[in-house]
Amino acid sequence: MSRIGVFICHCGENISRTVDVERVAREVGLLPGVAFSTDYKYMCSDPGQNLLKKAIQEQKLSHVVVAACSPRMHERTFRKAVEAAGLNPFLCEMANIREHCSWVHENKEEATVKAVEIVGMMVERVKKNRVLPTITVPVTKRSLVIGGGIAGIQAALDIADAGHEVILVEREPSIGGHMAQLSETFPTLDCSQCIMTPKMVDVANHPKIRLYTYSEIELVEGYIGNFQVTIRKKARSVDEDKCTGCGVCMEKCPIRKIPNKFDCNLGMRPAIYVPFPQAVPNTPVIDRENCTKFKTGKCGLCQKVCGPGAVDYEQEDRLIVEPVGAIVVATGFDLYNITEKPKGSMIKGYGEFGHGKIPDVIDGMTFERLASASGPTGGKILRPSDGKEPKQIVFIQCIGSRAREKGISYCSKVCCMYTAKHTMLYHHKVHDGQAYVFFMDARTPGKAYDEFWRRSIEEEEAVYIRGMVSRLYQKGDKIVVMGSDIAVGVQVEIEADMVVLATAVQPQAGADALAQKLGISYDKYNFYSEAHAKLRPVECATAGIYLAGACQGPKDIPDTVSQASAAAAKVMTLFAKDKLEREPIVARVREAGCVGCFACKKVCAYGAVEEKEIRDRQGNLIKVVAYVNPGVCGGCGTCQATCPSKCVELDGYTDEQIVAMIEAL
């Protein structure tokens, strides 16, 4: 006979305001099997937990139900307390009478009746709970970092410096990401490449880091501590081991007019190229779409001029499988653009700004490339249309961001600061020019940030206009900016030479597809979701996967680096132990009843089901049954719902437990 203890939490007044907790305790106390029931102001507090522990020992309780908040909140807390009192933690269940009851109902009578029933259901369930021993699994102490921008680089260096191997995978031919494209950085105006490139070189030289550039994640299998990652190393057409990075191939390539994505298509590159001079690795890649050799079979000049014979037209994509124990996702961001979007898409473009067809209306990243000393203009601010220096330049903030109508409601967080920076860079480079900024709010929280913004106005003479722009149109070689100043309450018209749009920060294209491979969740914009907004901001809900940088939400460089180091710390914590304890919520096969139809194996997404031969003492095969590898099992229970004779059961969610709950209704 079970001796169940039921503990009803008031949650201050959060529960007791709408649920008569004393009555719940009283009524539940009468249920068969309930030996003890009580209520308390804060069950999760220290005295609350002590009350629980004391009751278990004094009342010799066999099972515990805590009726309080959502189990997603405190199940761990109470199971730990129960364990401390000497009971198996899985003999404790929580009844959710806060999120699912007191907070969503107002009528006290109704809410109380519902609470009694919810607790009653959990009482019946807990009776069927079994002692579950904790499962331990080995940990592979290598980690995968996806994305070679500043977030991925920082995380990789931190983990590698702690002595663990790191696999760093980057989609582009070089690591560096967006930070490598920036000219100067706020709020100190130090040169981005000066602080970035040494880190890139560190990555290349680190003995513990294995770098895969021009590579993508193909498949992720396994689970925390034991992932198997398949990486597609795209054909570079240049052998990385042989190439010395001399650059002769690039000099000789006859195709020279391909817009360089790294320079926001302002500069040109050959068909065999490195995206920028400081690229890591400094190994060129052939852009097969534009290469004459690949298009027509003729040419082959680069191969002829290559001394070490590194150019290899036959190279194919390679699939590499790497076992890792933890994954850091650092895929970063992309910039929204104002071009016309397909009909029906959630995101819209800016027709009122000409859908990106006015040549001298550019985005912030393009301005960075113009301002960068290593950029296509050598650091001169020149108009893309005619190469003239713009004397009147207009910056417009919140393009795409905070624009529900365009499909994006969030604030992109970095634009206020980088626009302030742009006005300064402009003022430093075009002394007789004037910068104007249309803005709604200046959001400058951060160390020395607001001072920086004020400096752009007070010292660098940028004219800030509080108001938005309704329309942009080309008039002769000017761009007419139709805006308003809401402080004055008048319309403002500026004939600008150039307009820079602070476009929104969006997740990388394909972020959702990668998330699906990883089995992590993402929001409607495709930003990856952290496990808890405040308390677990760098972990995914999927164990063993961590987030760093703008793939999780818009971030500036200091925030990104902090989060990357935090993710690295999480990985190191995981790697600090040789074995990992995991929740024993896994499927088990009742071999006696299994007839070996392997429906379970067919539906298992983890490949956890194996075939196992049962033999008699003489070694004769009796039958082949299913076996679930507890280390691999994800614990979804799809196998159990599929098994016709229910000979595979998911611990913690057995049919007995569930039927008991249904019958309690």
């Binding site: 959710n96 994800g634 569930i658």
Partner: protein
Amino acid sequence: MHPEKQKHTFEPKIIAFVCTWCTYAGADLAGTSRMQYPPNVRVLKFPCTGRIDPVFILKAFQQGADGVLVSGCHPGDCHYIAGNFHARRRFAVFRKLLEFVGVDLNRLQFSWVSAAEGGKWVEVVTDLTEKVRAMGPMTEFRELALEEQWSGAINTPELEEAYNQI
């Protein structure tokens, strides 16, 4: 300011089978956002919709549920990779079976509710509750449970007396 609460004569029992990662979390969000919905629903938490056996739905109706809701993660969002895809097929077929034996499918609702969709949870639960309330109690299985073999008509006074004494 709240509208005057309406009194109903029939309060349906709704059972919701939900996955813990999306819909349960969505229902939690409805709670943390203090949204309001009818108290008729009882939530049973599963790790994944893939774990939900059609037999549970049958069992729920037999145990007196007037409506059943099955809800999990949106396609592609399954915490367990593909549990919801398997569930989708399983329930697509099962509901056709129930329909064929004469269960009104208005009593059986399936939905995708993500952890971010507290509002959708409220909407789904409210809609189902109101729909089932309008339909009245689910009597089919309940009547069946009271019946004996051969339609269970107790047609003689002796039988009736014997029955009453049980």
